[in-house]
Symmetry: C2
Subunit: 208 residues, 2 copies
């Protein structure tokens, strides 16, 4: 039990920071003390950034990426391929995939995955919007790029079934031994999947 | 270089969180995304906590501890001893010392330590206020409880000299091998200090 400071604005700020995942009460205390070393207007600007976040945040009306404009820069980029949509959980995944420079299609950000444990059903995330988008824009391929967890698998399967009656190919990103990883330290599930989904060696030559 | 999201409220919130010590850009991104999963009013309250912190934070006019009242609960507690003032760097130290239940005097929170490297001089922290407080209230003892760093030592020495002409004893907390620490793993400076400042064994018996 932490000894409490008799200041409600202080304790309230500590509590808010400690509500973030991975930030404990003691770290939050230190961070608020560090904030208090700054000028008053800087602390105020710190807070206003989150008030603004709550009031001004907008999502792309097509892919649900975070965007200041109605349609995000990725969706409005005409040099990108409309025929392929990559389905991801959140914008961190968009960033990670964009960094590879290996994908020139469009994205669809679900904003979560199906998780009965946390009470998140298909209609709580952008799955109905995905189905509608695919029905309307008729892309050729949907790449599922969700985490390999039970929730990710369930989401994959749900979307796959929902798309069965539409003329669209559903693929998932390859799972296997990471580049630079040692075979002996790779977990058996991943190594097994790597063996099962092996590809002709000459297919890898163009990637060098 | 992190791929940027084209949303200024989002990027601004990430930047503010990343300005806190120990929170990198990627962690800040994750935390803001986590915040965005909350209801709008909750995000707003998160921000308002820091706006309030900036506008409403008050310090005890005697010891400079954070307090909602003009004089903090420790300073206004009449059962505490006015004759001993423990000088600390920040309120985390007050909390740590209070937890020991070994100190019944008053505190003085400097709000920092002298650090020429960071441009912090004696007048940037509550040293003038400490001298004035001691001159006015004439306590018998000042316990210096600052970190054993170059900056802590410099601050100790500066205050010690400033108090030389006043009739007050200046002590510092004991340095030595921590309780539960193994002798063989204790650094030589600490172990040396432990030997130098050894005390009669019978003095420790009352602590058992």
């Amino acid at each position: 039990m932490m000894h409490q400071i008799s200041s409600s604005p202080f304790n309230n700020a500590v509590e808010k920071l400690a509500s973030l995942p991975g930030i404990g009460n003691k770290t939050a205390l230190r961070l608020v003390l560090q904030l208090l070393n700054r000028e008053g207007f800087e602390i105020e600007e710190f807070g206003k950034a989150f008030v603004d976040l709550s009031n001004q945040i907008q999502y792309c009306n097509s892919c649900f990426n975070i965007s200041d404009t109605e349609t995000c820069s990725l969706c409005s980029n005409t040099s990108r391929n409309n025929d392929v949509i990559c389905v991801v959980e959140n914008i961190l995944d968009v960033i990670a995939i964009e960094k590879t420079n290996q994908f020139q299609g469009k994205f669809h950000v679900l904003g979560g995955i199906i998780s009965p444990m946390e009470g998140i059903g298909p209609n709580d995330i952008k799955i109905p919007e995905l189905i509608e988008r695919i029905t309307n824009t008729k892309p050729k391929e949907i790449i599922m790029a969700l985490s390999t967890t039970m929730e990710g698998d369930a989401t994959n399967f749900y979307i796959y079934k929902k798309l069965a009656h539409l003329d669209v190919e559903v693929t998932t990103i390859a799972r296997g031994v990471g580049i630079g990883d040692e075979i002996e330290y790779t977990d058996e599930l991943t190594l097994g999947r790597s063996l099962l989904n092996r590809i002709p060696f000459q297919n890898t030559l163009s990637l060098r």
